[in-house]
Amino acid sequence: MERLALIEVLDHDGRVQHAVPVTHWPVTVGRALDCDVVLHDPYVAPRHATVDKAADGAPGLVLTVGDSVNGVRLAQRRLSSGTSALLPEGVEFHAGRSGLRVRLAGESLAAERPLGHQARRLRVWVTVGAAAALLFWTAASLWLQNLPGSGWDKYLPILLGTTFGVAIWSALWGLGSKLFQGHFRFTPHLRVVLGFILARLSLDLLLALAAFALSWPLLSHISGWLEIALFAALLATHVSVLLPARRQTVGLTFGALCLLAVGITGALSWRHHQRLFDELYAATLPPPALRLVQAKPVSALLDDVRPLRTRLDRQAKEDEENDSAAER
């Protein structure tokens, strides 16, 4: 018999659970055994919907909702019992909690997607490169910390710790992939975490150096906030790998969480220290060749200090008023 169409039943994540070949029109969808497409879904009526060719030989399909309480959801629209609507080809519609999609014979198919050996090879190199960069960075900062002539035993624990830490982190997210997508994916998560750690380390360093070079302490102060933002972005990227279909929602959610965290951090710092940032002054003193701005006479510093007086006096007054309010 000629196969006229294929009805695909989809799971929650939009993947095809099973497909039912269509050999005649109309096709009935429902829980009843005599339906062409039988759905095992308690939110579906025995005869939930019918899909038929459009009348008068017009192209396209028509979806008619049967005797159903829940109706059918089609592209943000809810069709109630007895109504019909044009069903565009390849568009998902929902009966109860089940998603369905119709593919018609003679549809135009998208071109074959290449497996991307080239791209995959590149990704492998990026991953290996990033891992090597992280190990190198860790070793370099240990080298800075250790006394000259320290043996390899001073490096080993942290290097191994970093390696295992990153691997366990990626593996846990990989398990998340297994949960949401059905297969364990390690390297995409590894790439994500390596990328963000490297970004964080280099930004921290750059900001500290720039704060010194330009004598602009704010650059150093904001690194705490930046850390929060990067951590939020890291989590958002991991979750996006798990739920590629919900990328936008994930981005918005973590963006909002990040703003909230930065807001709370700033508010707490303001409450405890009467300043937005925890850091009181920029402390990194790199080699002097990096200094780009001129040193000024002492009087310039004193000119900067003088305005503190009004700020401090105001703060002292506020503190004092709060104290005496508390005493009362």
Partner: protein
Amino acid sequence: MMLRYRLAGIAVTLAVTGASALGAPSARTAPLDLNEKRAQSESTVSPSAQRAFETARDKLLQVRTLLKDQDSQASVGSGFIVGSEGLVITNYHVVSQIALQPLRYRLTYTRAGGSGGVLQLLAFDAVHDLALARMVASNDAATAGAEGDVDKRPPSFATLSFRPRAQALANGERIFSLGNPLDIGFAVHEGNYNGLAARSFYPQIFFAGALNPGMSGGPALDGQGRVIGVNVATHRAGQQVSFLVPAQFAQELLERGRDAQPITGDVYPELTRQLLAHQALLVRRFVAQPWRSAGHARYRIPVPQEDFMRCWGSSSRAETKGLEYERSDCEMEGAVFISGQLQTGRLTVRHEAYDGSKLGALRFARAYSDSFRNEGFGAGPATTQPQCEERFVDRDGLPLRAVVCLSAYRKLKGLYDLSVLVATVDASTLGVQGRLDARGIDFDNALRLTRHYLDGYAWNGSH
């Protein structure tokens, strides 16, 4: 900075508060058996100690700070009668709680005979840690004893007299300190006069004798029973190293406050006035002194004179493979006691000279940054949180990174705490980091001290 240690030896004041009184029983269980003790006391207490105690006995008081609504004592000290109308000298730190929080505490006295009453605070000299109070006989059963002074007539008290200023004591002369140590009972402690304590900003008598908590505010007498000083502090690290406020300051306070009305209101304006005068004198004297040399080959580093500061030095071990340093810590011995939580009016100056030639430029930069980062700004409840300004400062061609942090006192209006951090930034494996701290100074003096301190840095002449 990176390498810190606590200097031994800080003078502690002698009022007994709840916390220190808890420690008292252990002092009692010192490993001396009773017979030994008796033998010792028979041999060391001289007839003149007996005489001193007998003359002073009825002029001695225990000064107790009680909670307002119950008879639990918050702190105890001692005092002595100097005016026949019931005027009493004690330490400011003995009465600080009542002065600062008159709604929470009350001040009472108990005499050696057991009688007692209420004390009214008339005047204080926080800088010298003295206070003047007046005894008010009281019928309060909780404080008054059975016998003596509860009388309607204005009573007339026997007083201790001051040794005339012109008659200087000789070093080694025997003197007697009296009070009520640890709330155990009135006692006389014998010791020797050793002149004035070195490197004290205000003169303090160095008494080689034991002072114990609870004796604060008690008198120190010469052989004729005349007051030569007031018990104030003991050295935490030393043994029998104690300090007395010279009697002249008590005399001056007595003259100034004899006719004063009892203090009932806010004492902070008066404390502020005294601290402002103190810091004006302190900063004037400090800035007038030239800096000493730190003996560094490359840099001129400001090290204060040791007139009223004490400097300790330390350095890295010779065999170190890492950062080499030499460190100097200078601080004033005493501070002005304001309350148990607040002592102020003092200066500290310190520096660390680093040599990272064994480390190389990158490792040095890291260690040097860590040291610069590791600075505390202990903003207490008395001050606002610090606010800082920072810059590269040029000192005759020597570039410095300088950070100036200030916080303001909440109740002592017009006083500030200043910290100036300095790091030289001219060499890749060599540098000096220094810090000046001034507590309880006015804003103009903060600017003056900052300039004075930064001006102390330069290339060394031989550079």
